[in-house]
């Protein structure tokens, strides 16, 4: 019988190459960092770093271009899907991604994301949903939950006045042009692993020219939620997941059959 014997320690995980070796400005425990890391891991694994052009948006991630080791352009608030369209139409063989928050994508940029999806633009959108406007100090977002207190809904979101939060992934999945639209979460290891797989499939969709892909990622915002990072994970799981189900909303048959 073979006896296991100790060899030297081998690296089983190290920082992805596509991340620049700098500190990020994100708050401690903010899962933007996890989102960034997963994108970098996937692009490294797929060997796409040198073919990728990122489109940064406006929000906490406005300086995303400082953190990734590839070409980036900066979009005005909400316009990233339109800018990405411009880049991709000139360079159809490059990988174009947008990285957007709830204000950017679901508020000021709602027209741009709907139409990019409707046109079936061959881009990948990473949508960070943390139920508030982080960069500007925690105002109500289209994704803020009913009753949730924010700096512009101090008494809690009043659905009579402000309406109900928008489930963007579900909404976009009704469009013919949307090929891969899913929601995942970054609140625990299992969900983070599922998120990575979804990002992988999203980029595979783009590589194969199969249409519009978006991964909505439920994320924490400890600073504006007024919670510790660990408490925020719990709040996300208890409060956000029931309203924003973690699921696949549109998976084109060709993508469902992909083996990666």
């Amino acid at each position: 019988m073979a006896i296991p014997e100790t060899e030297s320690m081998q690296v089983v995980y190290s920082r992805p190459d596509s991340l620049v070796d700098v500190n990020t400005h994100y708050c401690p425990g903010c899962t933007h960092g996890v989102g960034h890391r997963l994108i970098a891991e996937v692009l490294d694994e797929m060997g796409l770093r040198e073919k990728t052009i990122g489109v940064a948006s406006v929000g906490c991630s406005v300086f995303a271009y400082n953190y990734f080791n590839f070409d980036w352009v900066q979009a005005p608030h909400g316009r990233a899907p339109a800018m990405a369209t411009g880049v991709k139409r000139v360079y159809p063989d490059r990988i174009v991604l947008t990285y957007q928050g709830d204000g950017d994508l679901a508020s000021i940029g709602m027209a741009e994301i709907v139409h990019a999806a409707a046109r079936g633009e061959n881009i990948t959108v990473v949508f960070i949903n943390n139920a508030n406007y982080g960069m500007t100090g925690g105002q109500m977002a289209p994704t803020t939950l009913p009753g949730q207190k924010t700096t512009s809904s101090p008494a809690g979101r009043d659905v009579e006045q402000a309406g109900y939060p928008i489930r963007t992934a579900e909404m976009l999945s009704t469009l013919e042009g949307a090929s891969y639209v899913v929601r995942r979460s970054l609140h625990d290891p299992k969900n983070i692993r599922m998120a990575k797989k979804a990002l992988r499939l999203a980029f595979e969709t783009q590589v194969r020219g199969m249409g519009f892909s978006m991964v909505e990622l439920l994320s924490t915002c400890p600073t504006n939620w007024g919670l510790t990072p660990l408490q925020s994970l719990q709040w996300l799981e208890e409060k956000m997941v029931p309203y924003y189900p973690i699921n696949d909303f549109k998976v084109a048959p060709a993508i469902a059959g992909l083996k990666v």
Binding site: R49, E50, K51, T52, I53, V55, A56, V62, F63, Y65, N66, F68, N69, F70, D71, W72, V73, Q74, A75, P76, R79, A82, M83, A84, T85, G86, V87, K88, R89, V90, Y91, R94, I95, A111, E112, V114, H115, R119
Partner: protein, 376 residues
């Protein structure tokens, strides 16, 4: 190349294609929709990028993305649509990437109408977008000139990493005239060293208009200003008609300049020593020639299809040395040569003054012409 009868909007579109346009993103709006429609047929024919965007707001941002690749890219619109593009133009200027914008002005403000106007001069020349930025603005007055200036616009935009605007109006967009189209230029295959393309074999590049550190933003602004000084030194264009012995000068651009030329010819036939200065670049503005003329003529008449926007740039160049009078038609009304001819006669008859504002005198005259009330 032979001359063919062409519609202004379509001529501009084809001229851009001949100049190596790689991507067009636009939205329908009267009176320039023919440009979009021409592109929708020709660009796919040639395997180039065309998207009818969901709005002008989206269109200008698609242009912004494509411009970051260094490709030749353009959009076109008219007054209300141009207003939607102001955010994008400011960002494009702040990122220092080149693009061409065709603005086919119409009556406003607001929804206005679809008739020709020149009431967006301030919006375009003096920056409707936020911040200190300096678009190169070219103002043709015929279909042929529209073609030639469209081709020039791409060259200037690239040379100065700037926005270049072809500023026309509804009549130039819609009119049909014989014109000659330039030969087809090949598409670019080499791109500038600031352009993004995927960082294969090189360091990554970032294109942004953010400079969070004020001194860094100041350096950027100074760089833009210095570049503008280069443009001012090298790219001013205008056309002179009958100025050698002129006692009076009419100043007008675009369609109005063209109508004014007919009036000037008619006045000359009567023996009036009047000439026309027609700016071709309204930005950079031909201040020097106006300054020179102010030293030797008795008065100027500025004619525009607006309430007097270029008027102020003329007044500034002339600095009250001589009287500057104004005549304008508004809201889509196009002046006829005889109206301007009458104005020239009035100028010659005098008395003229440098007191007060010419707009006020004009508004009083307009009350008589149109029956509209004037304040004083």
């Amino acid at each position: 190349m032979t001359r063919e009868l062409m519609k202004g909007n379509e001529a501009v579109a084809e001229a851009a294609i001949r100049a190596g346009l790689q991507a067009y993103f636009g939205y329908p709006i009267t009176p320039q929709t023919e440009l979009l429609e021409w592109m929708s047929r020709r660009m796919p024919e040639l395997g180039r990028a065309f998207v009818q965007a969901e709005s002008e707001l989206a269109a200008i941002n698609m242009v912004y993305g494509a411009a970051c690749t260094g490709a030749r890219v353009m959009t076109s619109s008219s007054s209300p649509g141009i207003s939607l593009m102001m955010e994008g133009l400011s960002y494009i200027a702040g990122t220092e990437v080149p693009m061409v914008l065709v603005d086919v002005m119409r009556g406003g403000p607001g929804l206005g109408n679809i008739a020709p106007a020149q009431s967006d001069y301030n919006q375009i020349v003096h920056g409707g977008g936020h911040g200190d930025y300096y678009p190169i603005v070219l103002a043709p007055s015929s279909v042929q000139e529209s073609i030639d200036l469209t081709v020039l616009a791409f060259d200037l935009a690239e040379k100065y990493r700037s926005i270049a605007v072809v500023l026309t109006d509804g009549s130039l967009g819609q009119m049909m005239e014989p014109a000659e189209m330039p030969a087809m230029q090949p598409l670019r295959t080499q791109f500038p060293d600031w352009a993004v393309s995927g960082c294969e074999g090189r360091e990554r590049r970032i294109l942004t208009s953010i400079y969070l550190d004020p001194p860094a933003e100041e350096r950027t602004n100074l760089r833009l200003a210095a570049r503008w000084q280069q443009v001012e030194a090298n790219e001013i264009r205008y056309k002179e008609y009958f100025l050698d012995d002129a006692d009076f000068v009419v100043v007008g651009y675009g369609s109005t300049g063209r109508v004014a030329l007919s009036a000037v010819r008619a006045a000359r036939a009567e023996g009036i020593k009047v000439g026309l200065l027609r700016p071709i670049t309204v930005n950079p503005f031909p201040s020097q020639i106006l300054d020179d003329l102010a030293n030797r003529v008795q008065g100027m008449l500025v004619v525009e299809m607006s309430a007097g926007q270029m008027l102020e740039d003329v007044r500034m160049a002339v600095s009250r040395r001589i009287p500057v009078e104004f005549f304008g038609r508004l809201g889509g009304v196009v002046p006829f040569p005889d109206e301007i001819h009458n104005e020239i006669r009035r100028l010659v008859q005098g008395p003229l003054t440098t007191d007060g504002h010419p707009r006020d005198r004009w508004l009083r005259r307009m009350a008589a012409i149109t029956g509209s009330p004037s304040v004083n």
